[in-house]
Symmetry: C2
Subunit: 356 residues, 2 copies
């Protein structure tokens, strides 16, 4: 199918950003992928074109009624000079899960991966060198009808844009302080919590800002119904090692089914580490801590891979986990996944897809 | 302040649409209002410019993280040739309520109303003649940073666009059939339900589509926690007349504080009709119906003003309200509010603001 992708090249490539100033999500490559959807016609006109501003009507439905879904994954330069994607089919399938809930037409996952591969191949000089650096890939869909009425749109645009990003831990993996949110709610069962849709992130901003002001990196969400069960952290799923067993909140419809979460579970099983997907309350976690059984805590997500949690604050009570240091298991998962991504660890799960 | 609004006129006005084909939200006038926000500088450069496409980066934050708020109100031609807005300060203030929750900087409500008045005055030839027709006013704010990271943006744009719209009831006010939703959830306390933000409407689409397929006009939402208490209908608040008393769900944080809702409550009080803002369960409503006490049900909102509910379906059981006909009280509220809006009923509440 990739042969169907029309290509329009920039006349003058942009200068590449300095590696030291990459950060996350600030720079974009020379080209992007676009495909249109029109009711009755389906998805059509896939193309790679120069990255740049697009024209939309002020009445474009996405501004008003929020039909917008997205994905996030990365392309990695390997130690032996290849380019790898990590589980791109999982992202392509999750995009359709989001689309289905948001009444957005599905996109053939094989074609999504083809489009990602074509664009990354085309922009391969943009994958930054340097350990931990990578090319962030952002596929996203927006409703484009110029119409003010609450209904699913008849026209959409599917984009893929690429952003060279710096290492998440330039000075080594580092535990964070997390605030357990018991006032604001991110999502509830029956709503959009399991999708990657713009509105979920809008809903998270205020709690996140208030937590930052109090000196925390992120918020740990509790369920919206009883404000009791642990959900997820910012843009990460969350895991706890309690008395030798790893526990992570089960997928009940209000949290994202993270791909790093799934990879972590599969790795743990392959290592014969007991892992349990179930509901876990914040009280249970604090009791485990008080009994000396809370051994490690960490978030999982594409951006950081593993983000150890060194401290939690719930209702004014702070607990320190593993002395505020990165646990052995967290560290092992981190090095295994990043190793698979950069080609230094054997990919026994067949997770990577080479771009060539 | 209106003198600060720069004006750039179109060279060639568009032809006006045919009155019969107006519908809702399809046509836009010749001009729109825009104002920019830049962190450190505040809101700046208010201007009226030709209505037309705007340029945004594909990485514009609103597409990805949904920081987007809006309002909806109307300008009416009166029977005696004036132009009236209905409670525009209430919309301007509610926009700030939404902005505050979404971490969007507030806009001086007086200036918002000034901007609305200036734009409507400028476009007054676009207010359609004909009973029930009006000019729909859509103020909205979007985050415009070209940046992929979950945080409040540093730049925003505030727009006001105008759309000539047809009468909601060209053939007279007409009761609708409503499906009581017990699977999907629109919003929950602690979330964004009380704001007018894009994501709330995205969350409502799937339930609405499924209800339409079953032959219903709209969905009546239940609370997201117990799926028991009545919330609101689509883009309307909801009222029930039970045994002589009017009941409407209290504002608990998960529904919009509708301006038509507030006007309805104030009118009822002025008529000495008992009105009670409280939690009301769907069971209670069905019991009231079975006891012959459910006299009327109606939705309230800017688009329709009053939308009588003729039939409800909950868990497979259908009830008919007031024999499927518009109730006397619903009708009286409808004619009073629309009368105030078109100048045929005295505005004893000082709700209207003249544009001149
Ligand atoms: C809300 C949320 N939870 C969890 C995750 C982690 O998902 P993944 O591991 O697929 O990156 C993300 C990031 O994508 C997210 O946005
Ligand atoms: C979700 C929702 N509820 C209620 C309303 C009714 O509000 P108002 O009477 O201010 O138009 C609207 C429309 O604005 C709405 O979008």
């Amino acid at each position: 199918m990739s042969s169907q992708i029309a290509i329009q090249k920039v006349s003058q490539p942009k200068p590449k950003p300095n590696q030291a100033e990459l950060g996350f999500g600030h720079f974009f490559t020379d080209h992007m992928f676009i495909m249109d959807y029109t009711a009755g016609q389906g998805w059509h006109d896939p193309r790679i074109v120069p990255y740049g501003p697009i024209e939309v009507e002020p009445s474009v439905m996405v501004f008003h009624y929020g039909q917008a879904t997205f994905e996030g994954l990365k392309a990695y330069n390997t130690v032996d000079g290849r380019i790898l994607l990590f589980r791109p089919y999982a992202n392509a399938e999750r995009l359709n899960v989001s689309n289905e809930r948001l009444c957005i037409p599905p996109i053939d996952p094989n074609f999504t991966v083809e489009a990602i591969k074509s664009l990354v191949e085309f922009e391969k000089n943009w994958i930054p060198a340097g350990e931990g650096n990578s090319l962030y890939i952002r596929p996203f869909v927006i409703a484009t009808d110029p119409y003010l009425g609450v209904k699913p749109a008849d026209t959409y645009k599917f984009f893929i844009v690429l952003s060279p990003v710096g290492a998440y831990y330039p000075e080594g993996i580092n535990p964070v302080k997390i605030y357990v949110e018991s006032n604001y709610v991110r999502a509830v069962k029956g709503g959009l919590g399991f999708t990657k849709t713009a509105g979920n992130y809008a809903a998270s901003l205020k709690a996140q800002e208030e937590a930052k002001e109090k000196g925390f990196t992120q918020v740990l969400w509790l369920d919206g119904i009883e404000k009791k069960y642990i959900e997820e952290v910012g843009t990460m799923n969350v895991f706890f090692k309690i008395d030798g067993e790893v526990v992570t909140p089960s997928l009940e419809g209000s949290i994202l089914a993270g791909i790093t979460r799934d990879s972590t579970i599969k790795l743990l099983k392959s290592w014969n580490v007991p892992v349990n997907e179930r509901r876990i309350s914040i009280e249970e976690l604090y009791v485990a801590h008080d009994q000396g059984k809370l051994e490690e805590a960490f978030g999982t997500g594409t951006a950081a891979v593993i983000s150890p949690i060194g401290e939690l604050n719930y209702n004014g009570r702070t607990i320190s986990i593993n002395g505020g240091k990165t646990g052995d298991l967290s560290s092992k998962i981190y090095h295994t996944i990043t190793g698979i991504q950069n080609g230094s660890v054997a990919d026994t799960f067949n997770w990577t897809v080479e771009v060539k």
